[in-house]
């Protein structure tokens, strides 16, 4: 009886089978020998796993390379983008800064103007004068002296009478 190891396919025969150059005798042995079949299957399963994983990894790498290209494009446009951003910042920032630093001056100016307008426009003397005038007018209106025209009926003119007659006839 042959030893167990010699009953199996040699390494060269197994490799030939894997390469696709196996003899028909080797192929026949493989169909009957579970141990040799396991050797072949183990390699094929390992290669299947390796191929699928490495391809998936490469595809992921291929996906990463697109951003790389866009990164290159980004690198090209980056200085332009930064320049535009800086210009925008300056355009907005400088007027804002100036406005903010001018604001207290305007307030000071306004504060300077405000007392003048208050003192000239709403002085107590003028208010007193106005009140005196209003009181005088009021007193004049309350007087009992009748007006010369109070009891005198106005005379109707010819034109007024004519208009009244015409309106009646309608």
């Amino acid at each position: 009886m042959k030893p167990q190891s010699s009953a199996h396919l040699s390494q060269e025969a197994l490799n030939d089978l894997l390469i696709g150059l196996g003899s028909s005798a080797s192929q026949a042995h493989l169909e009957q020998c579970a141990s040799c079949r396991e050797q072949v299957e183990s390699f094929r399963c390992g290669m299947d796993a390796f191929n699928s994983a490495s391809l998936a990894w490469s595809e992921a790498g291929a996906g990463k390379s697109l951003p790389r290209r866009s990164q290159a494009r980004h690198a090209f446009f980056a200085p332009l983008a930064w320049t535009l951003a800086t210009a925008t910042l300056l355009l907005i920032g400088i007027p804002t800064w100036r406005h903010e630093h001018r604001a207290p001056q305007s307030l000071v100016a306004a504060q300077r103007v405000a007392p003048q307008s208050e003192s000239s426009g709403v002085s107590d003397a003028e208010i007193a004068e106005d009140n005196d005038l209003l009181r005088a007018v009021d007193a004049a209106l309350r007087t009992d002296q009748p007006s010369p025209l109070r009891n005198q009926r106005p005379r109707e003119s010819h034109t007024h009478r004519k208009v009244r007659l015409e309106s009646r006839s309608l």
């Binding site: 199996h8 390494q11 060269e12 197994l14 490799n15 894997l18 390469i19 696709g20 150059l21 141990s35 050797q39 183990s42 390699f43 399963c45 390992g46 290669m47 796993a49 390796f50 191929n51 699928s52 994983a53 490495s54 391809l55 998936a56 990894w57 490469s58 595809e59 992921a60 790498g61 291929a62 390379s65 790389r68």
Partner: protein
């Protein structure tokens, strides 16, 4: 000259000329070559993987994959459809790798050290569909072992191994693309298989 010892990407090697003469495999529709987007979509990841594991350099793989696709698209008129697009592209990729090695030899080797493949990361990309946690773990271990075994192979062994077991080319196709005798291809494959299978825990 010992053909096995000759590096496929040898600096003095002539460009592979057997690419366009093709193989026995019928090509894909010619229209695929007329659309750069389709070309990229169908072949980029596969090319990237091939170059990545052939050279061990992720950055170089990106460059070579892009150049290969661009060269293929620009010279699509010379593609007669006698071989598959995949085979044709692989041949162009091999020539492109050789060009890069010739021009950037030292820089390339520096890059190899700095941008080597992250085996741990790559093995995490395995699909968990239909696998229980134990099976997934086992598959990841197998992926790691194969990747580590590939790193130990010579460049020729690695390239031939990938062409056979990842690109699923026949020995005749590999022989034709690499302008290498079938016997030499077979020897490379045997040596590579021995190394990879032992790493996978195969029977000694």
């Amino acid at each position: 000259m010992n053909a096995i010892a000759t590096d496929i990407f040898d600096f003095d090697a002539k460009p592979i000329g057997a690419i366009e003469s093709g193989s026995t495999e019928r090509s894909r529709p010619i229209s695929e070559m007329d659309d750069i987007d389709a070309l990229v979509k169908i072949h980029r990841a596969r090319l990237l993987r091939f170059v990545l594991y052939s050279t061990g350099d992720a950055d170089l793989a990106e460059t070579v994959a892009q150049e290969t696709l661009l060269k293929a698209y620009n010279s699509r008129a010379s593609f007669r459809g006698e071989s598959s697009v995949k085979t044709w592209l692989t041949g162009i990729a091999i020539n492109t790798i050789r060009d890069h090695l010739r021009s950037n030899r030292y820089r390339f080797w520096r890059q190899v050290r700095s941008t080597a493949i992250d085996v741990q990361e790559m093995s995490s990309f395995i699909a968990a569909d239909g696998l229980n946690p134990e099976g997934l773990l086992l598959a990841r271990e197998q992926v790691k072992h194969i990747a580590q075994a590939l790193e130990k192979l010579s460049r020729n062994q690695k390239t031939v191994f990938l062409m056979k077991f990842s690109e699923e080319m026949t020995v005749a196709e590999i022989s034709e693309i690499l302008a290498m005798p079938v016997k030499t291809v077979r020897t490379h494959l045997h040596r590579a298989l021995k190394s990879v299978r032992s790493q996978l825990g195969g029977r000694p």
